[in-house]
Amino acid sequence: MNSFTRKGDFWAGLALAALGVYIISQALGWTYMAEEGPGAGFFPLWYGMVMIVLSLLLVAGTVLKHDPTAKRKEVRWAEMRRAMTCWAAFAVCVAVIKYVGFMIAFGLLTWFIVAIMFKRPQRVALAYAIGGALGFYALFSWGLELQLPIGTLFQ
């Protein structure tokens, strides 16, 4: 594999170019200019075109330019693993909120971060999970009278 394909900028440029193409394809379906003035497609068409040009410049720059810091800019998957695990846990928490409600979903997220990601003892993780969930309930539901998400399982 060529070195530029290991750089995030190369793939980001391609993704943004694809987004630019999508924006233009959508904008072409809307009115560009009507009698009373510019239509819904006017503005997106222009920034879509600029986006394509800029993303291709980014891709070309990554492929053609010799960059002495290239090694540093390569995507390091090992470093990202923890961040992505946290994100996945957050995504699961949001997905299950609909069913189990905020209190349980947040408690599980906290337990996961404390016990699994930071490898703290179970009693510490459970204390943070239960204490945190109760704290949120006390502050937002009682204190600020805000509605926390309620799960369908408990309705």
Binding site: G8, D9, A12, L16, L19, G20, I23, Q26, W30, T31, M33, A34, E36, G37, P38, G39, A40, F42, F43, P44, Y47, G48, M51, L54, S55, L57, L58, G61, K73, V75, E79, M80, R82, A83, M84, T85, C86, W87, F90, A91, C93, V94, I97, K98, F102, F106, L109, T110, I113, V114, M117, F118, Y128, G132, F136, L144, L146, Q147, L148, P149
Partner: protein, 502 residues
């Protein structure tokens, strides 16, 4: 209303028990987020913004502004004690502050930092009070073409100063414009980029993007493994935190330098506190009688940048409140807050909402006193926050993010968007895409498109309307600012090629 009567009205608003409490809360939270590396004012303000919807807007604005300028005070603590800036605006403080701490003068460095912040913050507020009303009157004559050109110039400056890569900054802004276009077009009622989802007809709420990118993205970035950093000890007792008379005498020019440079740079969109602090540090070094000592722990080198990053806050509020043009990610969130509460920042803002404007100005005077009191004797207490483990803090940030989004719309769909924008924020950090242009593009995108389309409606589609004197000058300036680095870049590539050939 003249300035004097405005200020009296402002103090009558700011001194109510509730607004005083909000000012104190904002300053306290600002100091906390300033001390904690990895949690900045944009993330905090974005997370708390939805919780302010049921509050009195004046009190809420006083609190959010308190977080904004309070963070600048707190940011110096880690710079001095750990050589790790709590905020990007405190990077320059590391240069001399940490060296002072290593020599056993941490107390004096922390003390002068708080005093410089107080002096410059107060001078900046005076300047805001004097500059904003006449500037607002001056811009009353602006119509759609002038506003469009002004927004282009504002975005250009933010893009120009946002990061190493101009291309990435521009792309970031384009993505912001795209997100701003989502939903129903206000002119033609056409649905744009809704992906067939009815929830998207109203567009994507700014708060979701801001919390996702700043708060969730920040938590993810902080999850990556990092080495623990040692903290130097803080001297105990207020006496040991006070600089000597000689220190204060040495810092006379630094206080003025920081105040003036900070305020003026703050007015410029995109320039921001980091630039103002480095600029004032550079000026301080160049006018110093002993420039060779800079880098070894010179107290003026702490006072100037710390003053500048505080005066910058007041400067940044000038274009925000008088033109409705934010100059950074944080002021963009403040602009969104004002709009969400039903205010219209712009030339008529001071006239239409005097209680809010003057109440905010008066609260900044009070806030600077509160921050001086909080930061001098209690700096050791705030420094203890640095011992707070990540596993205690990160779930809290994620939890507040969820609650903040859910309270705006009670929609699980919006929470799904939050998850998505969290990933976008993290990816942007990893790939060195600046986040400020995206947020500004998103905040200004709608108004910018509206101004452009209104201009072209006025001229029946002719672009000549944008070449009236004021818009033409602003657009030419924007074009010039974008072209200059390209030429410089072209030149550096040329030099590189010549070097290689040689």
């Amino acid at each position: 209303m003249d300035i004097f009567s405005g200020l009296i009205q402002g103090f009558s608003v700011a001194l109510t028990p509730m607004n005083l409490a909000m000012c104190f809360l904002g300053c306290f939270l600002g100091t906390v987020v300033g001390v904690l590396p990895g949690l900045g004012p944009p993330a905090t303000i974005a997370m708390l913004l939805p919780l302010t919807f049921k509050m009195d807007p004046t009190g809420a604005m006083i609190m959010l502004a308190g977080i904004y300028y309070g963070a600048k005070y707190g940011g110096s603590t880690t710079s001095i004690l750990m050589n790790v800036p709590g905020e990007t605006s405190s990077v320059a403080t590391c240069l001399e502050g940490y060296q002072m701490a290593r020599k056993g003068r941490a107390g004096a460095a922390l003390g002068i930092s708080a005093i410089a912040s107080f002096v410059a913050g107060t001078i900046g507020t005076v300047a805001l009070m004097l500059v904003a009303p006449p500037l607002a009157k001056l811009t009353l004559a602006f119509s759609a073409p002038e506003y469009f050109a002004l927004m282009v110039l504002g975005l250009t400056m933010v893009v120009l100063l946002a990061g190493d890569s101009l291309t990435k900054a521009l792309l970031s802004m384009m993505v912001g414009l795209w997100i701003a276009s989502m939903g129903t077009d206000i002119f033609t009622a056409t649905s744009r980029f809704t992906f067939g989802q009815t929830e998207m007809l109203g567009g994507i709420d700014f708060v979701i993007v801001a919390i996702g990118i700043f708060a969730v993205g920040e938590v993810m970035a902080n999850m990556e493994p990092s080495k623990p950093i040692d903290m130097l000890p803080i001297p105990k007792g207020l006496k040991n935190l006070m600089p000597t008379w000689q220190d204060l005498k040495d810092c006379r020019f630094a206080f003025i330098n920081g105040s003036v440079v900070g305020f003026l740079v703050g007015i410029l969109p995109g320039a921001g506190a980091t630039i103002s602090s480095f600029l004032s540090y550079g000026i301080e070094k160049s006018v110093s009688k002993h420039p060779e000592k800079f880098g070894t722990g010179v107290i003026e080198g702490v006072a100037a940048p710390e003053g500048a990053n505080n005066a910058d806050t007041a400067g940044a509020l000038v274009p925000l409140l008088t033109l409705g043009i934010p100059g950074s990610g944080t002021t963009a969130i403040l602009l969104a807050a004002l709009v969400l509460w039903g205010f219209k920042p712009g030339p008529l803002f001071i006239e239409e909402s005097p209680a809010l404007f003057w109440g905010l100005v008066a609260s900044m005077y009070i806030g600077n006193v509160v921050l001086l009191i909080l930061n001098l004797p209690l700096v050791a207490v705030f420094a203890q926050l640095l011992k707070m483990p990540g596993y205690a803090m990160y779930p809290l940030i994620l939890g507040v993010s969820i609650v903040g989004i859910y309270t705006t719309d009670s929609s699980i769909f919006q929470l799904g968007l939050l998850v998505g924008f969290g990933l976008v924020g993290y990816a942007m950090r990893k790939l060195d895409f600046p986040t400020a242009p995206l947020v500004l593009g998103l905040v200004l995108g709608d108004a910018m498109e509206k101004a452009l389309r209104q201009s072209l409606m006025m001229s029946q589609g002719h672009l000549s309307i944008l070449f009236r004197p004021i818009p033409a000058i602003l657009l030419l300036l924007a074009a010039f600012l974008l072209i200059v680095p390209l030429i410089k870049k072209f030149n550096s590539v040329r030099v590189q090629v010549i070097d290689q050939e040689a």
